[in-house]
Subunit: 227 residues, 4 copies
Amino acid sequence: MNIHSVNECSFIFLSCSARCVIKKQDKPNKSNNDKYHQILNAAIKVFAEQGYHKATISQVAREAGVADGTIYIYFKNKADILFNFFSYKTRRVFDRFKGEVEKVDHAEDKLRNLIRRHLGEFQRDPNMAVVFQREALQARYIDDAYIKDITKMYLDIIDDIIVQGQKEGSIRNDFQSGLVKRFILGGVNEVINTWVVTGVKYDLVAMADPLVDLYFKGIGLKSRNIQ
Amino acid sequence: MNIHSVNECSFIFLSCSARCVIKKQDKPNKSNNDKYHQILNAAIKVFAEQGYHKATISQVAREAGVADGTIYIYFKNKADILFNFFSYKTRRVFDRFKGEVEKVDHAEDKLRNLIRRHLGEFQRDPNMAVVFQREALQARYIDDAYIKDITKMYLDIIDDIIVQGQKEGSIRNDFQSGLVKRFILGGVNEVINTWVVTGVKYDLVAMADPLVDLYFKGIGLKSRNIQ
Amino acid sequence: MNIHSVNECSFIFLSCSARCVIKKQDKPNKSNNDKYHQILNAAIKVFAEQGYHKATISQVAREAGVADGTIYIYFKNKADILFNFFSYKTRRVFDRFKGEVEKVDHAEDKLRNLIRRHLGEFQRDPNMAVVFQREALQARYIDDAYIKDITKMYLDIIDDIIVQGQKEGSIRNDFQSGLVKRFILGGVNEVINTWVVTGVKYDLVAMADPLVDLYFKGIGLKSRNIQ
Amino acid sequence: MNIHSVNECSFIFLSCSARCVIKKQDKPNKSNNDKYHQILNAAIKVFAEQGYHKATISQVAREAGVADGTIYIYFKNKADILFNFFSYKTRRVFDRFKGEVEKVDHAEDKLRNLIRRHLGEFQRDPNMAVVFQREALQARYIDDAYIKDITKMYLDIIDDIIVQGQKEGSIRNDFQSGLVKRFILGGVNEVINTWVVTGVKYDLVAMADPLVDLYFKGIGLKSRNIQ
DNA sequence: CATGAATGAGAATTCATTCAT
DNA sequence: AATGAATGAATTCTCATTCAT
């Protein structure tokens, strides 16, 4: 009955079972796929506005222009919508991050491209930004392995850049890399959070270059740095 | 009948009314205050384990060793417990932050003291850490003015340090200070989040010095920095 | 999801919002309307037996043979059931009163028809009678504008009859009409109340003619009247 | 523990046991009696404002200036307060009705005195009026024998007057007396209800004479009456 | 596949009543 | 007697999920 062979997850409630890797795209029977995205996007919009918990299936259904029951044809349950958001929507974005990193050679350029793209993608889709920033942390805390993986995925990209930079001689190696990664991810996240919380108004991407400069140069003046 | 030291807020659901100024101390008849903290701590524990939304009043009551109804003597409603967590518990911590900053003179030392204390307080009370990190962001997103104020309070402390450092000549002034503040707050938050998410195991305070060094020196090697 | 033919009112608790104009008929998809009446009638029965306040939604649901939640598809809340009773069920009866009055010409006949019909309708549906007599007064006291309107509607019918009777020369005009209306409404109400309170046993309609005679002739003997 | 030997009633919930006839006055241990009335009057005020069901013991206690628990020293439970209102407060008023009737000789004068006093007592104590008019009907419907008795007490007074009037030749005897009594009580009640519902503004006692005239003369013109 | 009415478990909250002080 | 904090049963209402059409 239920086409989403996809996964058993309702990760928010920790009632996850096996997470099947078969992607929605594996079964792109034309119009069905439309409805899948239609619902997913509607959900993200509603989740962004209301928060995942306050949002109701009925609201999502109304926003998507389908019946309540229809949602359960494409998604196992409410939590599965959020899971699909992370596993499908977000993953797609993260793939682009990787692509962006590969476009250039130097570590600093790679980081710059990554951050630019990161800010760019979130700026392009503020609903995604809101839901990701708000619910991903929630999910990390509630102990969802999959979400942790996504964070790790991002951290791994950074890690590779750092290692490369250290080889290149452009990045210091007197810090433990775990800390450096958090340091970078934290800065980006906070910049995004601020942008969202203050109403998605200004140009987020413009923050990329100064932020990367901060990462590299720090806030200290050379005089003191040298000491 | 209802002590309601408390206030009208149920900020999570935006159903806040006026926030009354009556302080807790208004009715500290002996053991009452005990029960207030008893419930508050129980709630923080349950919120930490389950998340605010999944946690039920009954769970909090059981954890606190009181009847469900008793909670409503000390708190206006579920959201008010969280509000009290922020306005009472958290604020106390933030006051200590300020005190720590005032102990030393140089900007870098101030920042170092702040971060150390920040990590120290959260390490001392992991439940507080979990709830604060997870729900404060939530609240910022859901647009709670009070929580935003708390964040701002922290950012203001940082801001003062930066301004002083710039006067001292120890901190660069070629970055917009708004960005620098996010950059610093983001790093700390991410370090705390990681610590919590990975199970509150290692020594969090030990991250303070390397983190502050990162803030000041950046990740770039001088050779390139100088260019 | 929620049909809410209905309206925003929960007048008993004065938490009324706007009363929307959307009529029942807006969504009469086949059996739905059945369930609306099914619940409404069950509610009236339970309200008649227990009183509005003591009656619970669960009792109404059980009586109606539906789940508790179903009630909230058709009614906004408990008070809305009572409101619908007044605005739908009762109003229908009152419309018949008007029709009955129009059937005849003379004022006295009009009043007689009105009272007969009034007693007749209540006799036909004792549950309605109980709930109306008991809760309408309650509602008048609690200051519900809508219920006051219904009472006024009835008083207006009487008023028209009196005015006509005065023109005809069949009704005295040396009393203030406000008092006369209360005098008439009071008599009918008390007769109905007595009938209900004593167990809905005897023929209520049979009281109509003697009552109307009382209204017209009074209890005084002519000898003294003439003085 | 509980001084109110008074009664076991909680008539609203039909959980009445035996109703002891021992009056409060039987045990007038000075200040205690004060508190009994203090609470009773506070309750009537609160019941008048909120309605019996919506009113809470806490509100009554606050209004009376005593602790919640104190109420249970003087009254068995919430319903018992209402019961005491009827059995003590109201009965006292009804005794005065009787006294007033005995002051004069003729039936019409007796009825006039009764109605005047009735309206007068209610006008003097609007809270009593509100609670009596609203809750007595409720109680009659919910089948409280005691309240029915009170109504009967009043009807019996009227009955005696009618019988006397018929003997005197001042009152017709071609109506069944049961109906006449309702007819009279209904008019008074409706006049009082209207007065209360419209805000206790005008002079209620002034309605007595016109009302009694209506009772005696009816609304019909003699010309038609004679037919 | 799609629908949306129906379900009922579950949660927050209230408040009459008790009882230790 | 008086108190008022504590209790917990009871109630309203919500909403994710199901299933007959």
